[in-house]
């Protein structure tokens, strides 16, 4: 078994391929030194996977000071090979207004360009992960300036906010992990469930209330057929709008792990560290190849088409009637669905309570 370890102190820049000289591979070394490594005895092999400098020693991770940027709606942290996007609007239930969507997208782009970053963790401050789209605006609020005044602006604006950034999160070349606690609702499921790994605390719950409340066929991009890979569960999810507990979501195959709330952070961090031991190139190759299977099945085009349908329903009178009813009720979509379940019904349900 050959070991492709670099001698202590040698660095190999991330994408630089080595030139084959004699029986060895020449790689640029630190300080201009040239390091010749032996080729594997058992036969021809391509040059070893390049490793970013930061991953060659664990010391590099601890030495690098954590970078932290506080934006308006999110916090961006860079901590060695792990970047974290922390939704930070707990007073607004981390709802995806335009600012939050654009900031998450900008952070993803930054993490993508950053050669040091291998894994991005998406998580949230506050009582839950993400409350979804802003469904109920205050009189002076304009959470979505992109939506404009006309149907045409709405079509483009919703694509810019809820189609392309969602596709980008899915296509993001490096590894993504969602760390979900508390609520993950409506449009929030795109941040919570479209990542490569999802770890939830046992208090997490998931719901798509939009068909039953806003009359939308999901939220702009229909990821559910692709993440459930199950026809009946998908129909159930949209049309009956069940609140899935973390345990149920695990059973549906939507999550990787469910852990006690107290262990959530450490579980995700450990996972991120474990993943980041793998060379960036390998990570990106695995991700590309998994993603391409779904692309070949048609997911990318399907998400774009579902955005068209979501806009189309807004022009339909039966949908408009339901929306008027929702607006008139003064209720949030999730509570609107539970209306008529009796007097005093019904605050957002913790999953352990009966939902019927």
């Amino acid at each position: 078994m050959a070991h492709w370890r670099l001698p202590h102190g040698a660095h190999r820049s991330g994408g630089a391929g080595g030139a084959v000289v004699g029986g060895g591979v020449v790689v640029p070394g630190a300080g201009g030194r040239v390091v010749v490594e032996p080729r594997r005895a058992e036969g021809w092999l391509p040059s070893p996977p390049p490793q970013p400098a930061v991953a060659t020693t664990t010391a590099a991770i601890t030495i690098a000071a954590m970078e932290r940027k506080e934006l308006e709606a999110v916090i961006y942290e860079k901590d060695g090979p792990v970047a974290r996007i922390v939704l930070n609007r707990p007073d607004k239930a981390n709802t995806k207004d335009s600012v939050l969507v654009r900031e998450v997208d900008a952070c993803l782009h930054e993490a993508d360009r950053d050669r040091d970053v291998k894994v991005v963790v998406l998580k949230a401050n506050g009582k839950g992960f993400c409350g979804g789209h802003v469904a109920r605006w205050g009189p002076d609020e304009q959470p979505y300036p992109e939506f404009g005044e006309t149907f045409e602006d709405l079509y483009k604006g919703t694509a810019d906010l809820f189609l392309w950034p969602t596709l980008y999160l899915w296509e993001f070349p490096k590894i993504t992990i969602s760390q979900v606690h508390g609520y993950c609702l409506g449009g929030g499921v795109y941040l919570g469930l479209l990542t490569d790994f999802v770890v939830a605390s046992d208090d997490a719950y998931f719901q798509m209330p939009l068909a039953q409340s806003l009359g939308e066929p999901g939220g702009h991009t229909m990821i559910e057929p692709w993440i459930t890979m199950n026809w009946h569960r998908t129909m159930d999810w949209f049309l009956l709008a069940p609140t899935l507990s973390a345990a149920e979501a695990l059973q549906w195959g939507l999550l990787n792990r469910v852990v006690p709330r107290a262990d959530l952070e450490s579980t995700v961090e450990e996972m991120a560290q474990t993943i980041s031991r793998i060379p960036l190139t390998t990570l990106m190759a695995v991700k590309s190849n998994v993603k391409r299977a779904w692309e070949l099945m048609g997911m990318r085009v399907h998400l774009q088409v579902s955005h068209i349908l979501t806009n189309l329903v807004g022009a339909a009178t039966d949908v408009q009637a339901l929306r008027s009813e929702l607006i008139g009720s003064g209720l949030k979509p999730r509570d609107f669905i539970a209306r008529g379940s009796g007097p005093g019904a019904e605050p957002p349900r913790p999953p352990e309570e009966p939902t019927g």
Partner: protein, 284 residues
């Protein structure tokens, strides 16, 4: 002739192994109102089920093959659209029922199909004239999709253009400019199989139909299935369904409605509107 049924918009014939659907609404340029679309679809279903039939011919009486959708009185021409608009605010489902499902039925027809095209083949008429397996055109035939310039529609309920041109630039040029493609150019770009003099069109199509019909039915159906599956695997079937969503979406947009309003109020045909745009660009 084994069967000849004259319906309101079409004539349906069965003649040995050959079935013929003849658009027969020449006083309205064989335009595709809902009734015509349904009669074509009914005939297709009958011919599909009939084990004696091996080949289907689509052709038309009158000056041209088919002038496309009826522009003007939607309530009369397309009760399905009017009902959709009334019940759910969009003609989305009606469009699917009249112009997606039946066009897919023509394309998916289990046996070989031949379009015999003379004169105009316009707009939605191209969905009958160009989605058959084989297209034989007379030298006076021409093809155009006017609604992009003339009605604001992003191609049809079934967007056939990427699939029949199989060429990005040709499909784009044809749609954006509402280009009129004459028979010779149609032959050059592979839209049709043969161009023949008008007086020989009928005989040539009948000869091809008889020729095909000598092969076993099973072989013909399997060949058709296999050809069709290649295009299905490329995504054509889903793309057609998605294109209807876009047409419904376009019809709710204000800038499109403005153009439609101009065309309707001025009683301008979409092809004429497209021509005005071309002339206006040339004059600048």
């Amino acid at each position: 002739m084994d069967v000849r049924v004259e319906r309101e918009r079409i004539i349906y014939e069965k003649d040995g192994p050959v079935a013929r659907i003849i658009l027969n609404y020449p006083q309205k340029a064989n335009s595709q109102d809902s009734l015509l679309a349904r009669e074509v679809d009914d005939a297709l279903i009958d011919a599909d089920r009939d084990y004696d039939i091996k080949v289907l011919v689509m052709k038309a009486n009158g000056k041209g093959f088919c002038s496309g959708h009826v522009i003007g009185d939607t309530n009369t021409a397309y009760p399905e659209f009017a009902e959709g608009s009334e019940r759910i605010g969009t003609p989305w489902k009606g469009q699917y029922d009249v112009f997606v499902r039946p066009v897919m039925n023509l394309w998916e027809f289990s046996k070989p199909t031949i379009a015999q095209v003379h004169g105009y083949c316009l707009g939605g008429g191209t969905h009958y004239g160009l989605t058959t397996d084989i297209v034989i055109a007379s030298d006076d035939a021409y093809f155009q999709y006017p609604p992009l310039q003339g009605f604001g529609m992003p191609s049809g309920e079934c967007s056939i253009e990427p699939w029949v041109f199989m060429n990005w630039r040709r499909a784009a040029y044809y749609l954006y400019l509402s280009e009129v493609i004459d028979a010779q150019k149609a032959l050059a770009v592979g839209l049709v199989n043969e161009v023949v003099p008008r007086d020989q069109l009928e005989d040539r199509v009948e000869q091809i139909a008889r020729h095909i019909a000598q092969a076993p039915l099973t072989t013909l159906m399997l060949t058709k299935a296999n050809l069709k599956r290649a295009w299905e695997l490329m995504g054509m079937r889903v793309h057609w369904q998605g294109s209807n969503d876009l047409v419904a979406l376009a019809s709710t947009a204000k800038d499109v409605q403005a153009l439609i309003g101009q065309v309707m109020q001025g009683q301008i045909k979409p092809a004429e509107m497209a021509e005005r745009h071309a002339q206006s660009a040339a004059a600048d």
